[in-house]
C-alpha cells in the first residue's frame, strides 16, 4: 500500500515497480525483499556478480518464476504475473541468455508461437509486420529462415523482434553481449538506443562494467540476493560500481609476469578437423605454444576453439597431414595425433572445457564431488577403485576455490553454475599439468572467482606450464595472456603479442581473415 502512495503524486507512475520481492529455492534465498523501479524510456542496468539474483528477479517479472513474497506494480497498477503469458499482457518481454527459440521452425513461426489458437496460420501478415518492426528499429530478419541456420547474433535479433511483435514496451535482456563480437555489440546498443528513443523501457542484465557505463542511464546493483543501491550512470565510475557489486574494494589487476624460460611445448602444424557432419571446423591451423607463457585464443564462439583443444586432447581426429608435436619437460618430442585421450592425458596434457550449459562436458550432474573427481582417476587401483584420493582432492578444491556446497556428497547438479565450474577447473589444475588448456574457464563466474582463476593460471605459467586459454572477454584476454591467437571460421587469422594490440584490432581479426602474417618471435 505504501508503494502506491509513494507514486501517487507522480503524474506518470513508473513502468515497473517491484516491491519487497523475495524468492527462495529450497534453503537458498535468491532474492531478499528487493525493491526495483523501471522508468519509461530509460535503459536500466541490473548489475551484480553471478548468483546475485539478477536473472531470478527478472524471471519473476517475465513470469518464469513466481515470487514467494512482495508485489509487482505495472504502470502503477498491481499486477499478478503467474506465467509468461501474463507477462505479455502487461507488455513485458524477456530475451533470455539461452535463447528460447525452436530450431526447426522458421523465424516467422517462432515469432507467432503461442500467440493464438484459432483459425489458420497466416504467415503472410506476420512477414509484413516483422518487416515493419525491422524498418522501424533497424534490424535485419529473414522471416523464412530456419533458426538452425542462424548465427548467434541473428537469433538474438529474432528474440528482440519476437517480443516487440508481441507489443512489449518493457524489454529485459539477460547478458545479451556474452555471445557477440564487439562489432555486433555496438549494433545491439544502437538498437537499444532506438528502443529507448521510442519510449520503451530496457533492462540489461550484465556483469560487464564497461557495457554498463556505455549504454545505461541508471544502474541497480544486487549482491547475494540483496538490493545494494542504485546510481545514475553519469555519476559513477567502474571502480565505484565494482565496490558496490563485490562489497569491498578489490583491485582488478591480473598479475601478469613476463614469460620466463620459454621452451617449446606444443607445435601444431597444418591441423585440420572435420566434424561429424563433414563440415571443416579447423582449416590448416599452425602455431606453437611455449612453456612459461599463456597463449590466448580469441574468436567468435564456434570458430573452431573447441575443436582445436579437443584435437590436441585426442578427442577429435585430425585430418591426414596435420601434426601435433608435444614436448614434455625434459622428454623427447611426441606426436599426439593418433594417441588415445588417456595416453595424452598421461603425458601431462589437461583440458578443462566449460561448455555453455556447464554440465555438458567433463562432469556428471547426478554424481557427487568425489565421484566427479574420480572420473579422471577411475583406473587407478587394482580391481577396486581408489576412493580416498578423489575425496581428498574434492575437499581441497572445495577449500581452495571456496566452492559453496552443503557437503561433498551433494550431487553436482544442485550446486549453482559458478560453483560447478570451480569444481571442473579445480580438478584440471590440481593435476599440475605441463600443458593446461582451458576454455571459457570463467564463463559466468563472479569477479572474485574469475580473478582467482586468472591468478591461478598465471601461477601455472610461472611454474613453467604452457597455458592455452580460450576466452570470451577480450579485455581479460588482453590483460592475462602473453600472445593471442585469433581464430576466424576455423582458420588462424593472426597471432599477436597481447601487450601491443588493441581490442578493436582483435575484433576485426575475429570477423575478417587477416593477412596470414604472424609475428612469432
Amino acid at each position: 500500500m505504501e508503494a502506491l502512495e509513494l507514486h501517487a503524486e507522480r503524474e506518470h507512475p513508473p513502468a515497473v515497480f517491484m516491491h519487497g520481492i523475495t524468492k527462495r529455492f529450497g534453503s537458498l534465498v535468491a532474492n531478499d525483499a528487493i525493491d526495483l523501479t523501471i522508468e519509461r524510456g530509460e535503459i536500466l542496468s541490473l548489475l551484480g556478480e553471478n548468483g546475485s539474483g539478477k536473472t531470478t528477479l527478472m524471471n519473476m517479472l517475465s513470469g518464469i518464476y513466481a515470487q514467494d513474497g512482495g508485489e509487482i506494480y505495472i504502470h502503477g497498477k498491481k499486477a499478478r504475473i503467474r506465467s509468461p503469458k501474463d507477462a505479455f499482457t502487461y507488455g513485458i518481454g524477456m530475451i533470455h541468455q539461452h535463447f528460447k527459440l525452436v530450431p526447426v521452425l522458421s523465424a516467422a513461426e517462432n515469432i507467432v508461437l503461442g500467440l493464438r489458437e484459432g483459425g489458420l496460420l497466416n504467415l503472410k501478415t506476420v512477414r509484413a509486420r516483422v518487416r515493419e518492426i525491422c524498418d522501424r528499429y533497424g534490424f535485419v530478419v529473414e522471416p523464412d529462415k530456419k533458426v538452425y541456420d542462424m548465427s548467434v547474433s541473428e537469433k538474438q535479433t529474432l528474440e528482440i523482434v519476437k517480443v516487440l511483435y508481441r507489443g512489449a514496451d518493457i524489454l529485459i535482456l539477460d547478458e545479451p553481449t556474452a555471445v557477440l563480437t564487439p562489432q555486433e555489440t555496438d549494433k545491439l546498443f544502437e538498437v537499444m538506443r532506438n528502443l529507448k528513443a521510442d519510449g520503451k523501457s530496457v533492462v540489461i542484465i550484465t556483469h560487464k562494467l564497461h557495457e554498463v557505463l556505455a549504454i545505461s542511464d541508471r544502474v541497480v546493483v544486487l549482491r547475494r540476493g540483496l538490493f545494494v543501491g542504485e546510481v545514475p550512470t553519469g555519476e559513477t565510475t567502474a571502480q565505484a560500481l565494482t565496490d558496490m557489486m563485490v562489497g569491498q574494494a578489490v583491485s582488478l589487476q591480473i598479475a601478469r609476469t613476463e614469460p620466463e624460460n620459454m621452451t617449446e611445448r606444443l607445435a601444431v602444424s597444418n591441423l585440420s578437423v572435420r566434424d561429424s557432419d563433414g563440415v571443416l571446423r579447423l582449416d590448416d591451423v599452425s602455431f606453437t605454444a611455449y612453456g612459461g607463457e599463456i597463449l590466448g585464443i580469441a574468436g567468435i564462439s564456434g570458430s573452431g576453439q573447441k575443436e582445436l583443444l579437443e584435437a590436441v586432447a585426442g578427442l577429435q581426429r585430425a585430418l591426414p597431414g596435420g601434426s601435433i608435436i608435444y614436448t614434455a619437460p625434459g622428454k623427447e618430442p611426441t606426436e599426439l595425433v593418433g594417441l588415445s585421450p588417456r595416453d595424452i592425458r598421461k603425458l601431462g596434457v589437461a583440458l578443462a572445457f566449460v561448455p555453455e550449459d556447464r554440465l555438458g562436458m567433463g562432469l556428471v550432474a547426478s554424481m557427487d564431488l568425489p565421484d566427479n573427481m574420480m572420473l579422471k582417476s577411475y583406473n587407478n587401483g587394482f580391481i577396486f577403485t581408489l576412493r580416498k584420493p578423489p575425496r581428498h582432492l574434492a575437499a581441497r578444491v572445495v577449500q581452495e576455490f571456496q566452492v559453496k556446497t552443503p557437503s561433498l556428497k551433494t550431487p553436482i547438479r544442485r550446486l549453482s553454475g559458478g560453483n560447478i565450474q570451480k569444481v571442473l577447473v579445480g580438478r584440471e589444475i590440481a593435476g599440475e599439468p605441463a600443458l593446461l588448456m582451458t576454455a571459457y574457464a570463467v564463463r559466468g563466474l563472479d569477479i572474485h572467482t574469475s580473478y582467482a582463476i586468472y591468478n591461478i593460471l598465471s601461477e601455472q605459467k610461472q611454474k613453467g606450464a604452457a597455458v592455452i586459454y580460450v576466452g570470451e572477454d577480450l579485455d581479460v584476454l588482453l590483460e592475462l595472456c602473453d600472445r593471442i591467437l585469433v581464430l576466424c571460421a576455423g582458420k588462424v587469422s593472426g597471432i599477436r603479442d597481447a601487450r601491443n594490440i588493441k581490442k578493436e584490432e582483435v575484433g576485426l581479426l575475429m570477423t575478417h581473415l587477416g593477412e596470414e602474417k604472424t609475428d612469432e618471435a
Binding site: 529455492f25 517475465s62 518464469i64 518464476y65 506465467s83 509468461p84 503469458k85 505479455f88 524477456m94 533470455h96 528460447k100 527459440l101 525452436v102 530450431p103 526447426v104 521452425l105 513461426e109 507467432v112 508461437l113 503461442g114 500467440l115 493464438r116 489458437e117 484459432g118 483459425g119 489458420l120 496460420l121 530456419k146 538452425y148 557432419d277
Partner: protein, 332 residues
C-alpha cells in the same frame, strides 16, 4: 493375380490397424510424449469396443428387437475411443504431472492393458455362455459393410480400393487431416513447439501441460480405433488372446519413426508394413523357419530407414527434440 489381390487386401486391413495406431502416436510424440503404451491402448480400444457392442446386442436380444447398425457402430467407436483417451490420460498423468519416466510408464501400460483386455475378453466369453466364442455379429457386419456399387461394379478397383468397411477410409482421412492440422494451424504450431522445446513454448505463453495432456489423450483415442478395427473387421467381432493387437501395435510405434513423424508418410508406410506382414503367407514353399524371416521384414525395413535417415541428417526428419523428456518450469 488372385493371390496378389488377396495379399493386397490383407495388407490394407493390417495396414489400417497400424495406421490408426501410428497416427495417434504421432500426435502424442509431436507433443513430446513418447507413449510406448500404444499397443496397450489398442488393446483397450479393442476390448472396450467389444464390451460396448456386446452389451448393446445382448440388450437388443433380450428386448427381442434387431440391433440398429448405426447405433452398433457409434457405441463401439465411442467406447473404444473413450478407452483410448483414458489410457492416454493415465500416461499423461504419470509422466507429465508425476514426471515418471516415459519409457517405463509406456511399457507398463502395454503390459497392464494386455492383461486387462484378455481378462475381460475371457469374462465376456463366460457371460456369453461359457463355451465357444462370443460374437457381436450385427456390429461386426455393420463395420464390414462396403460402399454399394463402388465395391462391386468396378472390377479390379472394387477389389483393391473399395473392398473395405468405412474404417479404412476414416484412417486415411484422419492421417491426412492431422498432418494438415499440425502443419497449418496455430494449435499445430504450438504443439510442435511443445514437443521440440517445452521451455521455449512455455516462455511463449503456451500452456505446455494442457497441450501434452490433450495431444496424448486424443492420440490415445485415435490409436485405440486401431484396436476397434482389428476386433470388428479382422476378427469379425470375436476375441482372441493371441497377441495379434500387440504385434501390430509395436509395428505402429516403428511406423512413427519410419514415417519421420509425418502422418501422410504414415499412410503408405502402414500399407507397406501391412503387406510385408502378410508376405510369408503368399509365398509358396516357405518352411516355418523361413516364414519367420519374412515376418521380420517390417522391422528390418524400419532399421534400414533409420540408418538412411540418420545418414542424411536432415533437420526436418528428426524426432521432436524434447521427445521423452519431462518438463518442469522451475528446474535449475
Amino acid at each position: 493375380m488372385r493371390q496378389l489381390i488377396s495379399l493386397w487386401q490383407a495388407g490394407i486391413v493390417f495396414g489400417t490397424v497400424i495406421l490408426f495406431g501410428s497416427t495417434g502416436e504421432i500426435l502424442s510424440e509431436k507433443g513430446g510424449n513418447l507413449n510406448l503404451g500404444v499397443p496397450g491402448i489398442m488393446y483397450l480400444g479393442g476390448i472396450m469396443g467389444l464390451v460396448g457392442s456386446f452389451y448393446y446386442e445382448r440388450a437388443c436380444a433380450a428386448a427381442g428387437i434387431a440391433p440398429i447398425a448405426i447405433v452398433c457402430v457409434l457405441i463401439t467407436l465411442v467406447c473404444g475411443f473413450a478407452a483410448g483417451i483414458l489410457g492416454g490420460l493415465l500416461f499423461s498423468f504419470l509422466t507429465t504431472t508425476l514426471r515418471a519416466n516415459q519409457n517405463v510408464t509406456g511399457l507398463t501400460l502395454t503390459i497392464f492393458a494386455g492383461g486387462f483386455a484378455n481378462f475381460f475378453g475371457g469374462s465376456l466369453m463366460k457371460l456369453a455362455g461359457g463355451v465357444g466364442q462370443i460374437s457381436v455379429a450385427a456390429t461386426s457386419a455393420a463395420f464390414r459393410t462396403r460402399l454399394p456399387w463402388l465395391s462391386s461394379e468396378l472390377g479390379v478397383f472394387s477389389e483393391t480400393i473399395f473392398h473395405y468397411g468405412f474404417m479404412v477410409y476414416l484412417a486415411v482421412a484422419l492421417a491426412i487431416f492431422l498432418g494438415w492440422y499440425i502443419q497449418k494451424t496455430p494449435i499445430g504450431l504450438n504443439l510442435r513447439a511443445v514437443g521440440e522445446s517445452p521451455a521455449t513454448a512455455d516462455a511463449a505463453g503456451i500452456p505446455v501441460t494442457k497441450y501434452k495432456y490433450l495431444a496424448t489423450a486424443i492420440g490415445g483415442g485415435i490409436s485405440a480405433l486401431g484396436g476397434v478395427y482389428y476386433v470388428m473387421d479382422y476378427m469379425k467381432g470375436t476375441w482372441d488372446a493371441d497377441g495379434g493387437i500387440e504385434r501390430l501395435g509395436w509395428l505402429a510405434v516403428a511406423l512413427v519413426i519410419f514415417a519421420g513423424w509425418k502422418p501422410k508418410h504414415g499412410i503408405w508406410g502402414a500399407y507397406l508394413f501391412g503387406l510385408l506382414s502378410w508376405l510369408f503367407f503368399y509365398i509358396a514353399g516357405l518352411s516355418r523357419r523361413s516364414s519367420e524371416l519374412f515376418k521380420m521384414l517390417p522391422y528390418a525395413v524400419t532399421v534400414v530407414v533409420l540408418i538412411i535417415a540418420s545418414l542424411r541428417r536432415r533437420r526436418d526428419n528428426q524426432p521432436p527434440a524434447a521427445l521423452g523428456l519431462p518438463y518442469f518450469r522451475e528446474e535449475r
